[in-house]
Structures are given as C-alpha cells and as structure tokens.
Subunit: 183 residues, 2 copies
DNA sequence: CAAATTGTTCAATTTTTGTTGAACAGAATC
DNA sequence: GATTCTGTTCAACAAAAATTGAACAATTTG
C-alpha cells in the first residue's frame, strides 16, 4: 500500500471531455481560421462552441481546449467582434457564457465588415496619395504612365466596392436547410 | 591620383531607381499581399511589375526591391502560379522577363483557384470523416447533436461552392474602363 | 474591507513564417 | 569540356505572430 497511496493525488483535472467528432470539427475550424488569416486558437474556440448546444464559460473553453487564459479571453473577444460568437448570462450566475453564431450569412457579413471594409477605406486614402505623387512627376511620359496606373487601381477599387455588397447579399439565402423538416 | 584611382571601382550598382509614386504603389501591394495571407515580398514584386510598362528580368527585380535571389525566384514563381505574373522572352536574350497581369478578373480567378478551390475539396473529405465519426457515437442524444452539426457544415459547404462561381463571374465585367476611349 | 470570482492586459516566450545566400543544375557560349 | 549566364533549392537565420501567465482591475460576497 506504499506505492499506491498516491491514488488520492490524482486530480480530477483531466476533463478531456471532447468526443472524437468534436475534435475533428475543432480541427476543421482550426484550419479554416488559418486560411482566413486568423489565429488558430480562434478557430478552436469557435469550433468548440459550434459543437455544443449549451453555452460555455471561458473557464470551460480553457480546460476543454487546453489553452491559456489570455488566449481564451482574446479569442472570445475577437470572435464577438466578428459576430461569430455571442454571450449570454445564466440567471444568478456571475460568469458570462458563450455561444456560436451558426448562420453563415452572419458569419460572412461580420468577417467582411471587420476585414474587407477597413481595407477599402484605407484604399481610398492611399489612392489619393498616389494621385498626388503622380501629379508631381516632371517628365510627361512618366507622369502619363503613373496616371494610367492610378486609373487602373481606382477601377479595381470601385469594382471591389461593388462586389462586397453582392457577396453579403447572396450568401445564406437559404440558411435553414430545406431537407429534414425537424426544427 | 592615388586616393582617386578607385573611381573605376565604383560600381553602377546603385540603381535605386524607383519613383516616389512607384514606392507608394509597391507599398500598397505589400499591404494587400499581407491581408491576403501572402508574403509581403510577393506584394512588392507584383507592385513593381504593375508599375512598369517594360517587362523586368529577375535580376532587375532583385536590385530595385533590394531582395535576395531566393525571394525573387520564389515570389515570381508563386505569382506565375496565381496567374498574376506572366513571362516573356526578348529575342536573342537568354533571360526570362516578367510582366504583371492587370485584369482584375484574372487576378481574382487565379487567387480563388489556388486558395479557395483546394479548401472546398479538402472540405468534402473532412465532412465525410466527420459523418463517419458521428455515426459511431453510442449515445442517441449525442449522435443526434453530431448529426445536426454535420448537416450545418454540409449546408455551408454547398453554399460556398455555389458562391465562388458567382464571384468569378461578376468581378471584372467592365475591366476596360468606359472613361477615356483610348485603347 | 478582506476574500473570492471573473475577466483583461501586456511583456516575455514560444511557435510559425518568411528571407537569405551558398551550393547546385541546366543551358548556352567560347 | 570549361566558363558564363540564369534560375532553383533548401538549410540556416531573421522577423513576425501567437501564446502564455503573472499582475492587474472590477465586481460580488461574507
């Protein structure tokens, strides 16, 4: 009984409580986040919440994914800013709990609002700057070339500005799947 | 004439030959590349070629941007794979010269083909894997939850597959700017 | 107001990613 | 076939980005 008295010291800390399919889904989102230019931890967090019916507290997210407090806090905040996660409060409980937004349209719109729209705005300013630099060119031929490039960039900018609203519109026109009339 | 006999040793290497507006355009593309998840050197290279009427040799790209052989070689190859750069050969010259593709539609289509399409394919495989994991769940309630998530993911996948062709279609419908009837 | 709970911030660290340049391969020229 | 020219590859290195966790609010509870 000497070697086995350590039994009690085994902490019930290992809440390695993820189903295989959940691990696979979390990994899917990890990779997706990566290719969208987001930190992988954001993908993991979203993936976990996506799998669950019940809202999870930050505490649980940390333990289930084995990530640090800082990552969980920052990740949840970023995901809320993207509109990919929303928070709820259980009555008589101090802590916030988080739940995944699963409507694709909302996800796409939020992502574009956070990532694409700011770039378009910056683009406007940059184009003006380039235009003024081009106008300062002495040599006529060189100035003409610069002006041509500025026109092209302006055209691109205009086209992207047109495209984005379209994308926001046509994604998610049939969010609720027509197959299976449950729900 | 002792201290000044080095005159000949001054190499005409400092072809720091970029106009201010070119620097600004290159920086624009550097930032753009960054937000598309591409290395900044790719953006610089594309930006430089975008500015120029004449095709440039790798050698010139290296010197003008002050980047290494490796970066130039890898960058140019990646840009060619994206369809953002094409190469031409001047008659009686051994070296390849590079020129930027400036039609927005081509750029978008190439980017989506290289970045998005592969993800959709992988997605199909992953969805199958998740489906089979879900089917192995013992508990009925848990299996139902897993099945529900699998359906949602399949729906997203289908919608993204529909969206991409649309984007490829509607971008660049008016590449040649209607203003200025030259060309 | 001390202690406990929940969450944020940010400097230090780890991990990931991009860049460099020397060695190499192929092709043309002498 | 030796030399020059052009471009590729990849291991070592540098730079950038994500992650960690300890210190720090802000609340709530006893």
């Amino acid at each position: 009984m000497n070697a086995f008295t350590v039994t009690k010291s085994i902490q019930p800390n290992d809440i390695i409580d993820l189903d295989d399919w959940e691990v696979a889904v979390i990994d899917l989102f990890l990779n997706a986040a990566n290719s969208f230019g987001l930190p992988k931890s954001y993908g993991q967090i979203y993936g976990l919440l996506f799998c669950r019916d019940q809202a999870l507290a930050m505490h649980e997210v940390m333990e289930l994914l084995q990530i640090s407090k800082g990552s969980a806090s920052q990740g949840l905040r970023a995901l809320r800013n993207l509109g990919a996660v929303s928070s709820v409060f259980a009555a008589g409980d101090r802590k916030e709990r988080y739940i995944a937004e699963i409507r694709l349209r909302k996800l796409v719109v939020g992502f574009l609002r956070e990532q694409a729209d700011p770039h378009l705005e910056k683009g406007t300013a940059r184009l003006k700057q380039i235009e003024s630099l081009v106008n300062n060119i002495e040599d006529v031929g060189a100035r003409k070339r610069g002006a041509r490039r500025h026109e092209i960039l302006s055209g691109w900018h205009r086209q992207m500005s047109r495209l984005l609203p379209w994308v926001k519109m046509i994604v998610g026109k049939s969010d609720r799947l027509p197959q299976k009339s449950s729900d």
